[in-house]
Each structure stands twice: as C-alpha cells, then as structure tokens.
C-alpha cells in the first residue's frame, strides 16, 4: 500500500505539468487507492490528473469516488469528455451516477453516448428502486453451449477487458435463455477439447429481475457466489449482480433496520444527502404517533392522581421505574429483531424464546429489584422500599416479555419486526410500568394500612 507521495507533492506535479510523474501515479496504484488519495483535489485538478491515464483507468478511478463527488465532477467537464467516460464505466456504476444527477444534465449527456450504451442505460434506469434490476449490471460474460473449452477460453479472453467479472460465465442459447453456468476455475481445469455443454452446471441458481435486493443479497450470501444471474419472466439472462454490490446492499439494509429500530422511517438517500425537510418528514410521523401511545401513560396517571397527590414520594421513583422498564424492553426487542433478521431465531421458535426470556427477565428483575429496594428504603423507609422493589421486579419481567413477543407478533402479522423500535417499546413500557407501579403501591399500602 506504499504510496510514497503526499498530496502537496501531487499538486506541485500538477502545477508543473510533470507528465511522466503524473502518468506513473495514475497507472501504478489501484484505482480505489487513487480515488481516496485525490478526493480533496479541486474539480479542475482532478480532470487534469485523470487525463494522464488511459480512458479505462480514468473510468475506474472515477467510479471509486463517492457519488456526490462524481456529480460535482460532471458539472466541471465538457459533455463530450464525460460521455466518453460513461461509455467506459461499469454498467451499474454509471446508472448509479446518472440517477444522482439532475434530469436536464442526464438528458444533455445521453445523446452523446454511443447508441448501445444509451439503450442499456435507459433499460437499467427503468427498473424499480431496490429491485434486482436496479442493482444488476449488464456487462457480464456469456458463452454458447456447443463450443469447446479451448474456444471458450479464447472467447472469454476476448470479453475480459470490458466485463464486470469473467470468473462466472453464463451459458445461454440463441434466445438468451439461461441454460447453464461455468466458472473460470471449471474452464481452467477442464480438458481443452471438452464441450461446454458437457462440463457446465445445469442447475443454475438465479434471481428474477423484479426480486427485492434484500432477497438477492440473501441468496448470494447463502451460496457464497461472486455473482448471481438475473433473469426476466421468460428466463432470459438480463444481468448479473456481483459480490461488491452485495456488500452495498447489506450496508443499506442494515442502515434501514437501524433507522427503524429508532423509529425513523427509511431515508431514500444517506444521512448527509438528506435535506432538513426530508429528515423532518421521516421522523415526525413516528414522534407524533407516539404522542398518542404516551396518552396511555397520562391516562394511568390521571386515574391514580389522588394516590400520587397523597403520597408524593411515589413521584420520586417514577423516572427510575418507567425508565428501567423501557430500557429492558428495548434490549429484548433489539435482540429478537436482530436474531430474526439474521435467521438465528425463526418465527416458530417464539414459545421457546419467550420461555428463555422469562428466565432472563427473572434474573434481571431480581437484580434490579434489589438495587431499587435499597434506593427506596434509603429514601422512604421499609414500605417504600418494598413497593419500589416489587414494582421493579414486575416491570422488568413484563416489559422484557413485551419486547420479546412484539417482534414475533409483527412478523406473524406480516409486518417488519423492526417496527418494534426502541421508542415504541419504551413508550409502551411507560404505560405498563406506571400501571404496575400504582397497582403494587396500592396493594402494599392497603396491606400495611398506610392508605
């Protein structure tokens, strides 16, 4: 990884127009390394530097920039040069970029792009967001079934420079129906005179063009594929999704789950690309909705207003008790939501899981009860200690069970279990906690004759 150069030195080379040095820099390093290293160059400097590499390397470096940087660069260069670059970019990367540009910019660029590429771009742009079609690329390698292995290697060699991958090669008939699959490893090992049809794998695992990207990621992850073929309704090969897209999809899906876990509706772009209005609108819905859930708690307080007025010391422990209930419920819900998302726990295991969590809840409840008994005793004497400790035991046990069961219930009802967000659980736990607290308080006080 030894890049001996510093950015100011590179800038100096640009200022002096040190052609030999710039060519060396642009060809020795990995495109991803170059892209990261020069991210802080100005738009003009970047284009000046890129010009010192062959167009394929320019396209490769360009693709490794973040999308915002790519969009910025587009606005700082002639349409002519940009259209040439687009022709050399990987088919999925250029569509990602065009989706990030304003429509006028796209419409001014496309006429300059070669016809075949233009049509390919329009087709890829037409697939719905988050579908296999939207993440796939069309620069895959194919072979006909009837040729020999040595002919196949010659063809693959010819296709290699402008294909996303040549390690998985798909066998198609004259109508582009997907009929088989060979890996480059298979080709290398096989007898040169063998026919592709005889060595290819006929049971090909594929996805449909309208499958959700999450489904695509799950299938690829299960089989450990470098790429997976995408077919249309007529079983014709229309694209492939490669392992590097899988990592992006996994990250996107994890981000969505994180946001849901905090009651934030999915953001269409990343955080830094989201406007203030977008962030507001994705958060306000849940926040306002939870106001109504919290009215349950207000109702409980209203019902026990007199108890509270008479024994105002009970108010002192309110935040502790309902807070602990919320925290316990949020822990349990998050554990279960994640275990369901990673297939570690299945819907059918809800009963066994609930049983396990009752045991965990008893242990947590006992620990928390001991701590809160001590606090209550110290602050208000034995009776208050008993009330606070007993309430804590009941609250922890109960909210732990709510947190455990809600994700299962949501899954059963065909909702996303991630809907069992920490804020929702916390707000539900508040009402439950208050109710349990006032019940226990009333019961203990009537026993001790304090009411």
């Amino acid at each position: 990884v030894g890049n001996p150069l510093l950015l100011p030195e590179l800038r100096a080379m640009l200022a002096e127009d040190d052609k030999a040095g710039l060519v060396e820099f642009m060809t020795e390093l990995h495109p991803a390394g170059i892209a990261e290293f020069i991210e802080d160059l100005s738009v003009e400097e970047t284009w000046q530097l890129l010009a010192h590499a062959p167009i394929e390397q320019q396209a490769a470096v360009f693709s490794f920039f973040p999308l915002e940087k790519q969009a910025e660069l587009v606005s700082g260069v002639g349409r002519e040069r940009m259209s040439k670059l687009l022709e050399k970019m990987s088919h999925d990367d250029r569509v990602d970029l065009l989706q990030h540009l304003d429509d006028e910019v796209v419409e001014s660029l496309l006429p300059l792009v070669a016809k075949a590429d233009r049509e390919d771009i329009r087709r890829l742009l037409s697939y719905p967001e988050d579908s296999a079609g939207a993440v796939m690329t069309t620069d895959y390698a194919t072979l006909p079934p009837e040729i020999t292995v040595s002919d196949a290697i010659a063809r693959v060699r010819h296709q290699a420079p402008d294909r996303e991958t040549i390690y998985y090669i798909y066998v198609v008939d004259d109508n582009r129906h997907l009929i088989g699959f060979v890996s480059l490893r298979d080709l290398i090992i096989a007898r040169p005179t063998a026919r592709i049809a005889d060595i290819m794998q006929r049971e090909v695992v594929f996805v449909r063009v309208d499958d959700d990207q999450e489904e695509v990621a799950r299938t690829m992850g299960k089989y450990d594929f470098i790429a997976i073929p995408v077919v249309d309704e007529q079983d014709r090969l229309v694209g492939i999704v490669t392992f590097d897209d899988l990592a992006d999809v996994m990250e996107d899906e994890a981000t969505e789950d994180f946001h849901l876990a905090a009651a934030v509706a999915p953001l269409p772009h990343g955080y830094s690309d989201s406007t203030i209005w977008m962030l507001f609108s994705k958060r306000a819905g849940w926040l306002v909705g939870l106001v109504f859930v919290s009215l349950l708690s207000s109702g409980v307080i209203a019902a026990y207003e007199q108890t509270l007025e008479r024994e105002i010391i009970l108010a002192f422990f309110l935040p502790l008790l309902i807070g602990s209930g919320g925290n316990t419920g949020a822990q349990a819900a998050t554990l279960i939501v994640r275990a369901l998302a990673t297939d570690e726990v299945r819907l059918g295991e809800w009963f066994r899981t609930a049983f396990k969590e009752i045991a965990v809840g008893l242990a947590l409840g006992a620990t928390m009860a001991a701590a809160s008994f001590a606090l209550g005793y110290f602050r208000g004497g034995l009776v208050v200690g008993i009330i606070v400790g007993t309430s804590m035991m009941c609250i922890v046990l109960f909210t732990n069970l709510i947190g455990t069961l809600l994700p299962f219930a949501l899954t059963r009802l065909k909702f996303d279990p991630a809907g069992a967000s920490s804020p929702l659980i916390t707000t539900l736990a508040d009402a439950t906690g208050l109710l349990l607290y006032f019940w226990v308080a009333g019961w203990v006080m009537s026993l001790t004759g304090r009411m």
Copy 2:
C-alpha cells in the same frame, strides 16, 4: 434452482438405499442448496447420504451447515471418517468448526488428521478472536515471479482443486515475502510468454495478521476485492481473507452495533447460542448503570416536589414530555451513530451536523409543541397548554441536540460512538426533560401569577 425432490422422497430413497438416486442428488445440486434442503435429516441419515458423494463434495456440503448442526454431526460419526473430512474442508471453515467443539473432542480428532493439516489448524487456532488471522484461510494460490504466464496457468490449474480461490494469485519470493499480485483475468489476457514479474501488480494492498476484522472488512469493501492477502510482521504471506468472509464479518459487526444501540454488551456467540446466564450478564451491567443515571431525574422531581404537589395536573403530562424527549434523542443518536459507522459523516463535520439538526429539531419541536399545546389546553386550559407546548419545544430541541452531539463526543474521546445507545439517551433525556418542564412551568406560572 429446480430441485424436484421433496424431503420425504429423499428419506424414502435413504430407507431403500437407492444408490443411483442418492448419488445423483448429491452431485447435481450446489452444496449450499443440498445443505439447506437436508438440514432436518437425522444425524444418521445425513451421514448415510453424504457417503454417496466424493469426499470433496461431502466436505463442501458439510461446510454449508450451520455450526451447531456441524457440531452435532461430529458427535455422530467415527473419528476416522471425520478426520478425513476435516482434511478436505476449507482451512478457515474447519477452524471455525473446531472452535465450536469441546476441547476433548478436538484433541481426540487432531491426532488422526494429516500432519500438515494439523499444524495449519493449530496455527490458525492461535490467532486472537476477531483478528485478520482468525478469519483468514491458508489455502490460497501462489506463484514465483520468474516463470512465464503459460507456466503460471499450468501451475494454477494444478493448484485449483484445493484452493479457496484461484482468481487472485499472490506472487511470493523464496522466503514467502509478498512481492506482487496477479488476477486470473490478468493471466488469461497476458501474452503466454510474458514473465510474471513483468505483468504482476507490485503495489499490493494487504492487511496485517493482527489487524481487527472490522479493519479488514473496511479495506476489502473499499477496493472491491474478491480476496485480500494477510501478512505477518516480516511481510510474509500467511493467509487470505475472501469476500464470503467479508459478508459474515459485516453481519457480525452490524449485530454488535445493533446490540450496543440497545445497551446490550457484545454477545460472544449468536442469540440462540447464548445461555440465559450469558444474556443476563450482557444486559445487567447497563441496566444497573442506568439506574444511577435515572437518579438525576429523581433528583429533579425531589427538587420540584412542592410544585408538583400543588399543581398535580403537571404529573399528567410527565410521560408525554419525557417520553417525547427520549424518542427524539434516540432518533438523532441512531442517525448519527450509523452515519459515523458508514463513513457518511466524519468527526470533523460535527459543527455542520449540529447546525442541520438544530433546524430539524426546530421543525420537529414546533410540530410536537402544537400537538401538546392542544392536549394541554383541552385538559387544563390556556396556561397549562402554554406550559406543555413551550416545554415540548425546548425538550425536543435540546434532546435532539444531545442525541446528535453525544456520538461525536464519544468518537472524539476514542470510545465507540455506538455507546450513545437509545436507553442511555432516553435516560439522559428524562432528566433534561423534567428540568426543562419544571423550569418552564415555574416561569409561566410566575408570569401569569398562578404561583
């Protein structure tokens, strides 16, 4: 993906010992497909079925079972047969399995494994958990620098059957120092008479054997590598990490972040593998710790006990106000924690982000204030409406800012930003919310002469 068979049919074939059918089943499908399909077979049935495939295919299918299932299978077969299978398993997969077995079982198996494999296993077992060494595999392909491309292809062909990947091939000198890298694509495209030393890439991106697996995943993701080489302190090649391990690492890291976000300490194994005691111990610490944080809230209530006793209607809005504060803070913290984790927002952007979130907080606060003014007015008249609405505005704005800044502060102090968990934020927001509520109430009531 068309597997026309149903599990009962497969069971019937096993009962009848239909050799031809079983051999066909074991060789036609992808190992991952077979493993998933037969997961519910008994241990005896599984071994009976596996016996109908060559040992390499047996090892491949076996590796696709979940680890618990693999461990179960080990206990149901002779050590002799199991040791043969271990020799054919991918080097990283077999170490994962052995780490999952009891020490006595491992010690009874290892003496039967061929010496070279045994030594390889012991070495891989010695690396610390979550390090590059612990996720890497040692069955990589290498080439010396001085041979020609056609000789190299012949060697790769020879290495192919028992290497994890032959698509990335590492060039090493006589002392196994990593000096270059060629992809199989490079080899296929190159002139057959060219020397490897002339076509290889000399700037090799690598990781160190003791690097954290998260660092490995980040580097691989940045460069979109199928595999990345792992070197020791003397720059000698000791292993590779492949893209399929990357997906596992990403999932593990996401799970850890999810758990932290709900104040659950990292679980060493998955949820279903965790004992009740383990779950208890990973949750109790935070829960008890948060008890002390919630004492801040109790302190605020104690300080304003008289206000509350006089105006008990204020208690009615307590859950609404502190709940909304917690929810807002949890949303903001999760957005920022995730944006930091995915490198969308950097530490240096804290000021810009805070500015953005003040705007979002104002919009959310205004919305929530309107809703709570209405509730307050309806329940207690104009003054109460003003108190509740104004408090809500302040609380949302303030907790949103806490949620935004805490992850930055934790990062700055070299803590994991994910420590800004929803439970911690909620508990902090409770105290802040109460304080703001009583301040606003006191101020409005003194203005209106109600106190």
